[in-house]
């Protein structure tokens, strides 16, 4: 007969939270911010093909930190959910809040009932129009969802980077200025981030239905100049 030891629920939750936080803290961070006419997401990511930021739908983008295979699965599920909803109803009916809620439910379930909590933190960004507001929804590993007003920082070093970015970013600035602030907040005082280590995605109206764009090294360098 095997023995089951009693573990207090407080202890169990604490252990799981510590486990998830450790996993997330190993990766690099992401800054997402609303600028005067759009949303920009900036990640420190030396890989040019394993993306942390991507397009979900016409006006919705996704960013994730932590374990790549875990957040990439969530990204795929998000694209499927958005395309499926738009196909069943209308493209106008695809809403970032609904998607963020699904992510929160799934992460919450995995945290309490899964074999192990997911070691990820994700962001769902929506570019507003006359029907919907511009929004940044941050979803933490345990399913906490927060509606960030101006900017959000994901990843292990979030609090420090958040402080640095808040000092620089005052009001709604241009894309170039916001990108500069995000990069210097990510880098910190003693480091320079090379353009090749940056992954940048933006949501901005350019007259097309799809508003997401990935900036290449040349475009990033020009904006940072």
């Amino acid at each position: 007969m095997s023995n089951y030891f009693y573990v207090a629920p407080e202890q169990l939750i604490k252990d799981r939270a510590e486990f998830a936080q450790k996993g997330i803290a190993r990766g690099r961070s992401i800054v997402a911010a609303i600028y005067d006419v759009g949303v920009v997401m900036v990640a420190e990511n030396p890989s040019a093909s394993l993306n942390k930021i991507s397009e979900i739908y016409d006006r919705i983008a996704f960013a994730g930190v932590g374990k790549y295979n875990e957040f990439d699965r969530l990204r795929e599920a998000g694209i499927r959910w958005a395309d499926g909803t738009g196909y069943t109803y209308s493209r106008e009916d695809v809403d970032a809040r609904a998607l963020a809620n699904f992510y929160a439910q799934h992460l919450g379930d995995m945290f309490t009932e899964g074999q192990k909590p997911l070691e990820v933190e994700i962001l769902v960004a929506q570019l507003g129009n006359k029907f919907r507001p511009t929004k940044l929804y941050r979803v933490a590993y345990e399913g906490t969802i927060s509606d960030e007003t101006d900017f959000a920082v994901l990843g292990g070093d979030a609090e420090t980077i958040k402080g640095r970015f808040a000092d620089l970013e005052v009001g709604r600035l241009t894309l170039a200025q916001t990108l500069k602030n995000a990069v210097s907040a990510l880098a910190g005082p003693d480091r320079q981030l090379p353009v090749g280590d940056l992954e940048v995605g933006v949501l901005e109206d350019r007259g097309d239905r799809r508003t997401f764009a990935r900036l290449d090294d040349e475009q990033i360098a020009r904006l940072l100049a």
Binding site: S54, R73, W81, G84, T85, Y87
Partner: protein
């Protein structure tokens, strides 16, 4: 709909159609009534790409609709045209557009033009072998990898064939095809190709009661589309109007006789 998560074995990958089937979003076709159909669409290759022209009429026992769009941009560099059942055809376009975009978002790279053409084969096959509401598509686009315009046509069983010169679909095909066959040369300019393709639709509309010609009363003209290195472009109604008025004036002057020449 909940969050569609799949385990590694049952994951539908970047195919929207496979996902839609797994999630129960697609419906099986029923063998009930015939809906509006009949069409003529032509695609003609030239040096700088492809031109496409399509009539605008949906026909059942009577004219059901006079301003149907039978060519749509499947993505920036690809056009998809349909003939056959209007209901299934428009659904077909929607599914194809979404499939290409879905693949692009899932994998972060666009499908090749040939990949898009092949992807449609099983869709045509599934629709036509399970339903009396037959749909035949025509895919044309600018191939970014090979830097040239390409045209793909399909047979009823889903077979996909690339055409080097031109392709025609719809009930007015015999007349449009004959016109293109006599007028096509491999060294046409964009203007020549557009004029020839428009003439093919004019002939089809003249002879096939289910193909709509230029409608001078309502100012509705066949759609003119070009696919070049710049992508999909639909020409405006003024250009379409001028193109068809010119053909019509020549034909009126000769009292309806084509006169043994294509012009």
């Amino acid at each position: 709909m909940g969050l569609p998560l799949f385990d590694a074995q049952s994951d539908p990958g970047p195919s929207f159609v496979r996902f839609a089937e797994l999630a129960g979003l697609t419906t099986t076709p029923h063998h009930t009534e015939l809906s509006a159909h009949a069409t003529t669409v032509v695609a003609v290759r030239y040096d700088g790409g492809v031109v496409m022209v399509a009539d605008r009429q949906a026909t059942s026992y009577y004219v059901a609709n006079r301003d149907v769009r039978k060519i749509e941009a499947a993505d920036r560099y690809t056009a998809l045209a349909i003939s056959g059942s209007a209901a299934r055809g428009l659904e077909f376009i929607r599914l194809a557009q979404l499939s290409f975009e879905h693949y692009e978002k899932m994998t972060d790279s666009a499908l090749s033009l040939e990949g898009k053409a092949n992807y449609l084969s099983p869709l045509v096959q599934r629709n036509n072998l399970t339903s009396t509401l037959v749909v035949l598509p025509l895919l044309a686009g600018w191939d970014l990898a090979h830097q040239r315009g390409r045209v793909f046509e399909y047979d009823g069983a889903g077979g996909c064939y690339e055409r080097q010169d031109f392709a025609v679909i719809g009930s007015g095909s015999p007349f449009a095809d004959s016109t293109l066959r006599l007028g096509f040369t491999p060294d046409m300019s964009r203007e020549d190709a557009l004029a020839l393709a428009a003439l093919a639709i004019y002939e089809a509309a003249d002879n096939d009661p289910s193909t709509g010609g230029p409608d001078f009363v309502r100012d509705i003209f066949p759609m003119l589309v070009t696919l070049t290195s710049e992508g999909f472009r639909e020409l405006d109604q003024e250009t379409a109007s001028a193109t068809f008025r010119a053909i019509n004036d020549r034909r009126s002057a000769s009292r309806g006789v084509a006169g043994g020449t294509l012009r």
